[in-house]
Symmetry: C2
Subunit: 301 residues, 2 copies
Amino acid sequence: MSLGALEKPLLAGDGRALAKWISAAENRDPAVWELLARQYDRLGKASVLGVTGPPGAGKSTLIGLLVERLRKEGQKVGVLAVDPISPFSDGALLGDRIRLSNHFNDMGVFIRSVSTRGRLGGLSIATREAVHLMDLAGFDSILLETVGVGQSEVDVRRIADATMVVLVPESGDGIQVLKAGVLEIGDVLVVNKSDRERASELTLALKEMVSLSKRPQVPVVGTSQGDVKSIDDLFLVIQNQLTRLKAARRADRGAFERTELVESWVLGEVRRWLGTVVEDAANPYDFAMRFIKAWTPPRWK
Amino acid sequence: MSLGALEKPLLAGDGRALAKWISAAENRDPAVWELLARQYDRLGKASVLGVTGPPGAGKSTLIGLLVERLRKEGQKVGVLAVDPISPFSDGALLGDRIRLSNHFNDMGVFIRSVSTRGRLGGLSIATREAVHLMDLAGFDSILLETVGVGQSEVDVRRIADATMVVLVPESGDGIQVLKAGVLEIGDVLVVNKSDRERASELTLALKEMVSLSKRPQVPVVGTSQGDVKSIDDLFLVIQNQLTRLKAARRADRGAFERTELVESWVLGEVRRWLGTVVEDAANPYDFAMRFIKAWTPPRWK
């Protein structure tokens, strides 16, 4: 079935249509931009929570617990896991996707990973498009999981309405955490596996760092899978932060998105064009200067 | 004095002219590309050694010792330190530049840091240009210092003829090191401060990892500031690797350089152009599609 025929099913919330549209976004199919241009005014209903932190911090388990809570409230929930492709490891999949398997048969939960290669910024763009597509498909909450802090190819802050950083006592001392940009990214800081040794130490260090930072109101929450109350508390804190931050976060996003789309497209085009220029590259500076002379700005209007 | 008037002094090896040209590269002055286009055939005389590793590994001290050795052989030596500008910390200077101060009054040693902001890929381009400029100024060896492994904004492998990764016993266990891409980047692996506890452990772990890797011939060298022989050994190992790797490393560099120059210029141009388009960004996808229609490819020949 062509993508065009899958527009109505997508808007009606059909999971298979959504999956095909997300694949199209990964493949940079121009039909996705056409769809989003047409349906742009419908976007923005879903709340988007970024979930990030080092590998092994328990992000997937926490996401599973949050999904349960959101489902109890009758929400449709999308989970999007960003697959980082390391230049070295050639495709390291996010681990422990399996922990979300409880929800695999629930029609109100859509779980998907997104990945893409090659074009600069492509992963960031495909991720945002996948979020938009889930939004169009009627999901109320979207959880966006990325690995690592501060070095990810995908800037969750540019996509999510609020971001939760999940740490564990093993995540290292305060200075390392600070360096990793936790305070700049996190709207909720979670010390997971808070029953472990050194958890209270990390919690205290984070609270002190937060209180001295530019955003002293950022909450630090301890969680433990077995401690239901801790998950309830986290849930409330997240809802508060989403409500508080959503409007401001979305305000300048259109302009950023426009720039990112155009730049990524132009880069792809220029790279493609460079591939057609058979001249040797013996003097790259001479080539670049001749390119500048040959450049024509876009004819706008 | 205009840059044009500083071309001859640069080629004659004048340090002040070189410093001005490097500043011009940081500022993306088009005169730099014009100079390099004109003088491209003269490039490639200098040997370029990348020196990278975590903060505190003793890179600057080792560089100081290597500079001494190179000076004894009568070489002119350039040291270029790349200043990473974290999106969060707003300009963290490389530490301990001061350890190179022994050489500040030596005319045969040129020490400079390079940094730049803003334009995507700008730091990488300015760094390579600074290396080219030192090369034109007649430096025989250039040591290029970057912080961190595998996550740097500047890909040393694309600029250096060989790269030395400096680690210390505190650099963490083998798996962390492996993750950081040490094996992929390093042509010489140095365990510095090898008199410390756990140094032999790290050395063994590295040797084992190397032997199992795709590049089992990469040498692992233990060094200690006080142990002259260890520095002599390192020096020989580096010279060997430079000799062995130089030709292959340089082979496809022109094409890469051409692509990077053109892409970076185009991005700057597009960003500038986007700034002049006053239309609102209410529907970025609609905007991007109209941009694609307005796009004109470069008129080549």
